[in-house]
């Protein structure tokens, strides 16, 4: 195998990039190292922005064949592509010909189609949560009963009518929020952070290869 195809190369690049970020955080390595770290952060932003283009190409690759071959629900793909192309054209940052984020067509589409659609999609969650609460909050076991009571008390704390009816709902809700919730959240955060450290060390050391060729050799 050619040397540049060896798996050690990307592992080495990953390790170097990670160390460039980590070492200046813990040690004072001087302005050269800090500049290098800063540049790496800027590169990451550029690469991240470039990934948008990859995403756009992937959308085209997925939906164009679906339309051409009239696969099931190809009409949705057509609607997606049309709106995608229209938004891209009117949103292109070419001020000289009136295009860009302040273009009236772009603003109209954003304000009158995308905004209400996005808000509606999010609002629908309220209906699902209401239905889920009705079905899931059943006093089947002791644990489920505790969950039911805690959920109900927090709802009464969050609804203005609850605290207006009895301020004690606020006190109880605050206690639930600040004590049991907080301790659990902390445990999740600390557990997650320890896991991230382990994953980082394993990645730098080359043991973690999940991001390379699906982990295979």
């Amino acid at each position: 195998m050619a040397w540049y195809k060896r798996i050690e190369i990307p592992i080495l690049i990953t390790a170097i990039c990670a160390l460039i970020q980590i070492l200046p955080y813990y040690f004072t390595l001087g302005p050269v190292a800090e500049d290098f770290q800063s540049n790496f952060v800027n590169w990451q932003m550029v690469v991240g922005t470039g990934a948008l283009l990859v995403g756009a190409i992937a959308i085209l690759q997925l939906h164009i064949p679906r339309i051409m071959q009239r696969r099931p629900q190809w009409e949705y793909s057509l609607a997606l592509l049309l709106t995608f192309i229209i938004m891209v054209i009117f949103g292109l940052p070419i001020k000289e010909v009136g295009l860009g984020l302040t273009n009236p067509v772009f603003e109209f589409l954003y304000g009158n189609i995308l905004t209400p659609l996005s808000s509606t999609m999010y609002s629908i969650l309220g209906f699902f949560i209401a239905s889920a609460a009705y079905r899931a909050f059943r006093a089947r076991t002791l644990e489920a009963t505790v969950l039911l009571l805690a959920g109900s008390l927090l709802m009464l704390k969050n609804a203005p009518i609850g605290t207006a009816f009895w301020p004690g709902f606020g006190t109880i809700g605050d206690w639930l929020f600040n004590i049991p919730n907080m301790s659990t959240q902390r445990a999740i955060y600390i557990g997650g952070a320890l896991g991230a450290i382990v994953l980082g060390v394993r990645t730098i050391a080359g043991y973690e290869k999940g991001y390379l060729r699906g982990g295979g050799e």
């Binding site: 996005s118 006093a139 203005p160």
Partner: protein, 282 residues
């Protein structure tokens, strides 16, 4: 739909979800059309949020970050609107940024409504500036902390170099920032700001988030890394009350009450059905 052999308890336990959806729609819509005017008590966290902005010394530098997209408009738009109104009413300077790509669009919607020059006599580039989206998520936050000018080179509204604006002469890194306000719905958001701005620079921070995010941000408040948290629409209504400027959150406060009560009523009905059926079986 009632099937043969189904008892009242079974029916209570299995109410058609469409009935619940319809009732929920009615109880949310009704108070929006005809407000009930239910009282809203103000929590200590909202008071802290308000007082932190209210007590900023004149000339303080604030960074306001729109870390959310259009989907969270319902909950965060009223809070962001009230916060920007509060900031424009004060003698502080502030920069608007976004770490979510839809953030600048939301911010512009608010700016267009507030009309800072006409309403508050604030000069763009001198009292406030709109820097737009900094792509890269957490990396962008880190880069902004180190170097504002190098990370966002042009402003969002006029596409001029940020170095040409007088306000930016006093805003070069996170060390120049007296307060950071983040409106957030997820990642990147408070977690990342704490890591990139509080930990290395100790920038005081306020966070307004959607209701479901509140439990995840709360540990930072208790640890003192976030000064105050404004979670969801109810907190928005409290903040509007403190500002004496009723807005969308105040209008929605009644709908929060009615919808929560409906859900609670259904939970109780479902449990009555369940417990009665279990008792009969025994």
């Amino acid at each position: 739909m009632v099937t043969q052999g189904e008892t009242l308890w079974d029916r209570l336990e299995n109410i058609d979800r469409r009935v619940l959806y319809l009732l929920l729609w009615i109880v949310v819509l009704s108070p929006l059309i005809s407000p009930l005017g239910l009282p809203v008590s103000i929590s200590s966290s909202t008071v802290k949020y308000y007082e932190t902005i209210e007590n900023l010394p004149p000339g303080s530098m604030v960074v306001v970050s729109f870390d959310f997209g259009l989907s969270a408009l319902g909950e965060l738009y009223p809070i962001a609107f009230a916060t920007l109104h509060h900031l424009f009413s004060k003698s502080v300077k502030f920069a608007i940024i976004a770490t979510w790509n839809e953030g600048p669009i939301v911010a512009k919607m608010i700016i267009d409504k507030l009309k800072p020059e006409e309403t508050y006599n604030k000069v763009y580039g001198e009292d406030w500036i709109f820097l737009g989206w900094a792509p890269g998520g957490e990396q962008a936050m880190a880069a902004l902390g180190r170097d504002f000018w190098g990370t966002i080179t042009l402003d969002y509204l006029y596409k001029k170099p940020v170095s040409e604006y007088s306000i930016m002469q006093n805003l070069k890194s996170a060390e120049d920032v007296d307060l950071l306000i983040s409106f957030e719905t997820g990642t990147p958001g408070a977690d990342e700001w704490v890591r990139q701005w509080w930990e290395p620079y100790r920038v005081p921070m306020l966070v307004a988030c959607i209701g479901v995010m509140a439990p995840t941000v709360a540990p930072y408040v208790q640890a003192g890394q976030v000064l105050a948290l404004l979670p969801g629409l109810r907190a928005g209504a409290e903040y509007e009350k403190l500002l004496s400027k009723p807005g969308l959150a105040t209008a929605a406060a009644d709908a929060i009450s009615t919808s929560h009560i409906l859900v609670l009523a259904f939970v109780i009905i479902g449990n009555i059905g369940y417990l009665a059926r279990r008792g009969r079986r025994k």
